[in-house]
Symmetry: C2
Subunit: 112 residues, 2 copies
DNA sequence: GTGAAGTACCTTGACAGGCGAGGTACTATA
DNA sequence: TATAGTACCTCGCCTGTCAAGGTACTTCAC
């Protein structure tokens, strides 16, 4: 992993919700997609992922159901709820704002 | 404050170092600059700021000295060290990478 | 001359999120 | 038979943020 988890901290929920916005999925798969999308430069640790699922489900942002397993173990699928959708859009716009602010704060006059 | 500190977490060191790259400064002033640059949408809490100073000084990335106070209390100035400069450039490029990856991870096909 | 507001620093303790380490259970392949 | 892959889950530590509290000096209004 080339970027540390702390750099992403506070945005993991956004990542997960954004993934579920594309359709139901399960932990193991989401992790792989994240790894692929980031070209292997970032991956959520399993412990982080499953704690996030638990948190998001408690908040009512996602709902889970046991789904047909393919080759291997049983899978717990997650679906985004309407409140999760809302939360996702809010988090996405927060990310845009974070970027904007950070870019301003990190500006250094004419240095690498 | 319109964006939470946790969204910035992991980047506070970068912010502080980037500010010190512009010249020596002291806590209270840095905080005001951050607040101004972000149009008041973000401010580091004092506790966070001073813990960060301590951490950065222990790492050798900044050095401090007591400076002439203006109107008000005495000031502790901070200067960035060569190792701090290096760290700052590294953190800046990490930020660029974080942005890039996050943008990919948050992509949602044709949704707000 | 006193009280409030601004400047400026610092510490303590609680809290939350990330994650290393460990565990379970099933299937396919060598 | 064992190894590797799929897939899930929990415990406990660590680190960074921050609310709350404290100190000390100056300036200005009343």
């Amino acid at each position: 992993m080339s970027i540390a988890g702390d750099l992403i901290r506070g945005h993991t929920d956004a990542i997960i919700l954004a993934r579920l916005l594309q359709g139901d999925s399960y932990g193991y798969e989401i992790n792989k997609v994240i790894s692929t999308l980031s070209s292997g430069r970032f991956e959520l640790k399993e412990a982080t992922l499953y704690t996030a699922f638990k948190r998001l489900e408690e908040l009512g942002h996602i709902a889970s159901y046991w789904g047909g397993s393919g080759p291997g173990a049983r899978r717990r699928y997650y679906a985004i709820t309407p409140s999760g959708r809302e939360a996702c859009y809010r988090l996405l716009s927060e990310w845009r704002e974070t970027k904007e602010i950070m870019d301003k704060l990190l500006e250094t006059e004419g240095k690498p």
